[in-house]
């Protein structure tokens, strides 16, 4: 069944953060629902829609930015009390806009996630989870990593679930952790599945995966998870609602690349995408309901830049008579006229203010200080192609972005972008290895890029983001590229592989060694988790080699099947220790087999790439042959198949054009590192190695590595 939904824009407010909009419960059976939404200007707005016009119910005064919004009420009655969290304060409003609660919590940091149920408040700020009943502190839990979201599955026993950055859902009862459920990415949002079935929880991850887990007090089982056929943006919000009125609730998903999706279930209970719409900005909250017109369900969503919009099932042009169309046009017409006059007034006011600002620049006692504009950015490793995705989204149009890096990295454009890229010549004396400008087209608010780093080269990538806003200002964002930048956290490593080991002993504390490891590897919490022994496992997303880190007070052991990883770790850790004036005893245990093992890991993929390259070079020639002979009949089966897949192969080659070079680079590193541990410098033999690689033969390569 095809679903067509029509977009209606309701209102625009300030920048919204994740989960900041909810629909108020409907009053009667046929009534429309009101929308409660809070923005970063600190304004809570509640409005309804009458005849396509937004009619405000109430609006609060501006204040500190609001991070979360939730609805609650006395159990058993309609959930129509609005709770908002801003900084470390929670406020409650009735549906009429009367403030009935102002609760200054004892949290040191601002609240990042909130769930309200009856008179129970579940609040999270970065690493801390707090539970209050009637504003009285009940439970407390320190999570091992940043908490992204919290929900509570059944109130009487109060089992809460924390979505943590470390790819785990932590299931808590009161203050104690019962168990954890591992999900395939850092979970960013949780919601109860089907809205009522207590123990099933739907999660969305920041790498775009969606799944359902059944959580009990003993275990958590994965029921299903989506398999990503193509890369999708991170999930920011989820809801379950029966839009299609077929008796089964659909899943509504909003992502940070602006896509808005609806999943329905097939007969086997597996989710299938039924509808997709792409907005220009990321979707921060989503909910199904009935807002615009009684009897027509719709998906209500809020975007990052503050648009509230509905994707309604109501047809835009119904079978009604021609008079009706005119009516719709008239409506928008009046809206347009109203907006235009408002714009004119604003323009005049802005001109006046601009004048005053210019005036002020004459006197020298004053400061010119412009409030920063809001930016949503992300810099995450995508495991599929071992590159970082840099996403930048600004509340208003971007003028240009300057990227600067002090280490050599490669930047790939993403097809969706329409920005004009220009790479500038770099002067290495100012430690610039990358200078690139992205001049954006009008009305571009998002920019996405792929950044390819090389392990062992670490530094900072800086983005200077200039918005198209007067007075012109620019914000600097820094992204750290760590020495082992391509590593990703996993649960356990394959112990059967031949392992190299480096162990450190010395007079250092757990916190110290943790900070050193954090400076080496991504996806680790800033502060050391509780416990005396810490263990983390990683996987190299490019080579698929593993790394295990175990450390405690005064001792650290690192194991990997990749000798380069160990070499980089050893270098960085000793450097960090020297910085702090701590002497280390370093001992290495190198496995001779590990190098060949790593080469074996690279072998199939390198060979695939080489084959691909060979095939692609053949395509041109074969095409010419085909033309000469007047058809593909003259060619052998193999070549005919090749010609048929020509386009596909070329696409693939285009996508992975530098994979071979990347592999060659890692093999050369491996070669140098292997002999470094033996104490010989083999830099002079690298050209010889490259020669062998250019006439690739696996056995010759292995033999070359095994030469003394």
């Amino acid at each position: 069944m095809d679903v067509t939904l029509n977009r209606i824009d309701y209102l625009q407010i300030g920048v919204t953060s994740q989960k900041c909009m909810r629909l108020m419960p409907a009053m009667g059976r046929k009534a429309t629902q009101k929308i409660a939404i809070a923005d970063q200007n600190g304004i809570l707005t509640c409005f309804g829609i009458r005849k396509g016009e937004s009619v405000p119910v109430f609006k609060t005064l501006p204040g500190p930015g609001i991070n979360r919004l939730d609805l609650s009420g006395v159990p058993g009655t309609t959930q129509e009390k609005i709770f908002i969290a801003s900084a470390s304060e929670v406020r409650g409003y009735t549906k009429k806009g009367k403030q009935f609660l102002s609760f200054e919590t004892n949290l040191a940091e601002s609240i990042t996630a909130m769930h309200v149920s009856g008179s129970d408040l579940f609040l999270c700020s970065n690493y801390v989870f707090n539970h209050y009943t009637d504003c009285v502190d009940q439970n407390y839990f320190l999570a091992p990593d940043k908490i992204n979201d919290v929900i509570c599955v059944s109130t009487p026993i109060s089992t809460s679930i924390l979505a943590c950055q470390d790819c785990n859902l932590h299931v808590l009862q009161n203050s104690t952790a019962l168990h954890t459920v591992t999900v395939p990415g850092p979970p960013s949002v949780l919601t109860l599945f089907q809205g009522g079935n207590e123990e099933e929880v739907l999660y969305g991850t920041s790498n775009g995966k969606l799944g359902l887990v059944k959580v009990t007090s003993e275990t958590g089982n994965c029921i299903w998870e989506t398999t990503t056929e193509k890369r999708r943006g991170g999930i920011l919000c989820l809801d379950c609602f029966d839009i299609l009125s077929d008796g089964v609730k659909e899943i509504l998903v909003g992502r940070d690349d602006g896509s808005l999706e609806m999943y329905a279930f097939d007969s086997a209970g597996k989710p299938m995408m039924k509808y997709e719409h792409v907005l220009a900005e990321s979707v921060t909250s989503i909910q199904g309901g009935c807002v615009g017109k009684p009897g027509y369900n719709e998906i209500v969503a809020s975007s990052y830049a503050g648009w509230v919009l509905g994707m309604t099932t109501e047809p835009l042009l119904k079978e009604a008579g021609p008079g009706d169309e005119l009516h719709i046009n008239k409506e928008t017409e009046t809206k347009l006229i109203k907006l235009r006059t408002e714009l004119d007034e604003l323009q005049a006011k802005v001109l006046q203010e601009r004048e005053r600002y210019q005036q002020s620049s004459i006197s020298d006692a004053t400061l010119s200080s412009i409030p920063p504009f809001s930016i949503r950015d992300k810099f995450v490793l995508s495991s599929e192609d071992a590159t970082y995705i840099l996403g930048i989204e600004v509340q208003t149009a971007i003028d240009h972005v300057l990227l600067q890096s002090d280490i050599p990295i490669d930047i790939d454009d993403v097809d969706k972008n329409s920005a004009v890229v220009s790479h500038s010549v770099c002067d290495n004396e100012n430690s610039n290895f990358l200078l690139a400008t992205y001049r954006c087209q009008a009305n571009t608010t998002r920019l996405e890029l792929k950044v390819r780093s090389i392990e062992g080269q670490f530094g900072i990538l800086q983005a200077y983001i200039t918005a198209r806003l007067q007075p012109r200002t620019c914000q600097v964002r820094q992204y750290f590229i760590k020495p082992l930048s391509l590593h990703q956290r996993i649960c356990s490593i394959d112990q059967s592989r031949p392992m190299n080991m480096v162990s450190l002993t010395g007079r250092f504390s757990l916190a110290e060694i943790h900070s050193w490891v954090v400076s080496c590897l991504p996806e680790l919490p800033e502060r050391a988790p509780l416990g005396s022994d810490i263990s983390y496992c990683f996987r190299n997303t490019f080579l698929d080699t593993h790394l295990q880190c175990n450390y405690r007070n005064g001792e650290g052991v690192f194991k990997s099947d990749n000798i380069s990883t160990i070499s980089i770790l050893k270098d960085v850790l000793t450097k960090e220790a020297t910085k702090k004036n701590i002497s280390l005893n370093v001992s290495c245990d190198i496995s001779e087999d590990s190098v060949e093992h790593t080469l074996q890991l690279i072998k199939p993929r390198l060979e695939e790439q080489l084959h691909l390259r060979q095939k692609v070079t053949l395509i041109e020639t074969l095409k010419e042959l085909e033309e000469q002979e007047g058809g593909p009949e003259c060619l052998s089966h193999e070549f005919r198949a090749l010609l048929e897949d020509a386009e596909q192969l070329q696409q693939k080659q285009k996508k992975q054009h530098n994979y071979v070079e990347r592999f060659y680079g890692t093999i050369a590193d491996l070669f140098i590192d292997k002999f470094k541990f033996k104490g010989t410098n083999v830099k002079s033999r690298v050209p010889q190695l490259l020669d062998i690689l250019n006439n690739y033969d696996f056995d010759t390569l292995v033999n070359f590595f095994n030469l003394p």
């Binding site: 625009q12 017409e333 002020s360 400061l367 300057l402 220009s422 200002t473």
Partner: protein, 443 residues
């Protein structure tokens, strides 16, 4: 493209993007991506169905056609959509204005309390910060070749974190970035420019100004124009090496007007003033291609001496445009070029021409042979076909078709004796004696 009677601007990019824009607002109406660079964009009725198409071709040979959006169907719907789009845009504009307003308000708030805030770490910079820019010719040093130097500086202790220059035609891309190391920031940045051609260039300079630790910077934007002949520096006429070649023309305008032209088109350390009725200036090219001297005598006779004919042309064209001279005869004397021309004409060209002619004749001959062979081949084929047809007409029904097909098979196999036999006895299957490659009969 949208059938509204107004043409859209269509751009093809080296990264394979194709954009369709509203020519007035620059807004993108449609875009597509090719795998390779876009090689060409044309409009044409390729399918011969009376509808004009936009046709784009990429470097690797992919061709795509785009039909303009039809204007007839769902007229109303599009109208409605357009209005909604309009509404959205206006609302976004309002949001931007509100943001700007908020910026001023917040700024005013800070200003009121600025006396107390000065010591605090605030993202602000003094309100009277100005950005100054100076363009000058740098004759170069041992480490640096000569260039035009643009120096950008702030009026106080604020630092320049980076300078971006957007300009067309003088950099590899469209922009050039100077990003000093965070450790040696200063309030002054110098940029070396080397425009390769004698054309005026607009430099759109954006300087990011703030303090060392600021995460928010102010963007100062200014536009400077590089004069057409900025790569020429003035020197003393007495010491300059006089070029061998020159052009002589007559300029009836006052010499002062020419002085104004000099000031506008060259980067001079100070304004050039001419108070006499004659003029004599000399320049040296920073690209290292000799000198240029311009002198105007009292009798309005002007002498432009340079060994570079291109440069002389540039100077004359620019001067003529400036003085709004529509017709001007010029006497030119370029011994080096004349020599080259002679050489090309008399020796090289003649020789090449003869060689080319010989080659052409050979080509023509071989083509004629090919043609003749082809014609012969065709007539032979005709005879064979005729005979087969006749042989077929000797039989009736299925025997007729069998003979024809058997004959064809025999020809394909190159089985001549079999062919004779078939014509003689009919379509009995004849085993091929030896396989032959299929006959490629193309001329």
């Amino acid at each position: 493209m949208d059938s509204d009677g107004v043409q859209e601007l269509i751009t093809g990019w080296s990264n394979g993007k194709v954009d369709v824009r509203n020519a007035r607002s620059g807004e993108i109406m449609y875009k597509d991506n090719f795998v390779a660079s876009v090689a060409g964009i044309v409009e044409g009725d390729y399918r011969m169905d009376g509808k004009l198409q936009l046709i784009c071709c990429s470097m690797d040979g992919e061709v795509r056609g785009y039909l303009p959006r039809g204007s007839e169907p769902c007229d109303n719907l599009i109208d409605g959509q357009a209005e909604l789009e309009n509404l959205r845009e206006l609302s976004q504009q309002r949001q931007n204005l509100l943001l700007e307003l908020k910026n001023y308000e917040e700024n005013a708030k800070v200003m009121d309390s600025s006396e107390t805030m000065r010591s605090c770490r605030s993202p602000g910079i003094p309100a009277n910060t100005h950005l100054e820019s100076v363009l000058a010719v740098n004759p170069g040093s041992e480490t640096q070749p000569p260039h035009v130097q643009l120096s950008v500086s702030t009026s106080n202790d604020t630092m320049i974190r980076a300078v971006l220059i957007f300009a067309e035609g003088i950099f590899d891309g469209e922009s050039y970035v100077v990003h000093p190391d965070i450790g040696n920031l200063s309030s002054r940045v110098t940029i070396a420019l080397r425009p390769p051609k004698n054309v005026p260039v607009d430099l759109h300079v954006k300087a990011l100004v703030g303090y060392q630790s600021s995460t928010q910077l102010h963007v100062f934007e200014l536009t400077r124009q590089l004069p057409r002949f900025c790569m020429y520096t003035m020197c003393d006429p007495d010491i300059a090496i006089v070029p061998k070649s020159h052009v002589i023309l007559s300029i009836s305008e006052r010499v002062q007007r020419v002085a104004i032209w000099l000031n506008q088109n060259f980067l001079l350390p100070q304004e050039f003033v001419c108070d006499s009725s004659f003029l004599n200036v000399c320049f040296v090219c920073l690209r290292g291609s000799g000198s240029l001297s311009i002198s105007i005598k009292q009798n309005a006779e002007a002498l432009i001496s340079t060994d570079d004919m291109d440069l002389a042309g540039d100077v004359i064209q620019s001067l003529a445009t400036f003085l709004s001279i529509s017709d001007m005869p010029v006497e030119a004397y370029f011994p080096a070029y004349v020599e080259q021309l002679c050489l090309a004409l008399h020796k090289n060209m003649k020789q090449r021409y003869t060689e080319l002619q010989n080659l052409n004749r050979d080509l023509l001959n071989s083509h004629n042979i090919r043609c003749a062979n082809h014609m012969e081949l065709l007539s032979d084929l005709k005879i064979i076909n005729k005979i087969i047809q006749k042989a077929g007409r000797l039989r009736v029904g299925k025997y007729k078709t069998r003979v024809v097909s058997a004959c064809r098979d025999a020809i394909k196999m190159g089985n001549t004796s079999g062919l004779m036999k078939i014509i003689e006895i009919g379509g009995a299957s004849v085993q091929p004696t030896r396989p032959m490659p299929p006959s490629g009969l193309a001329p």
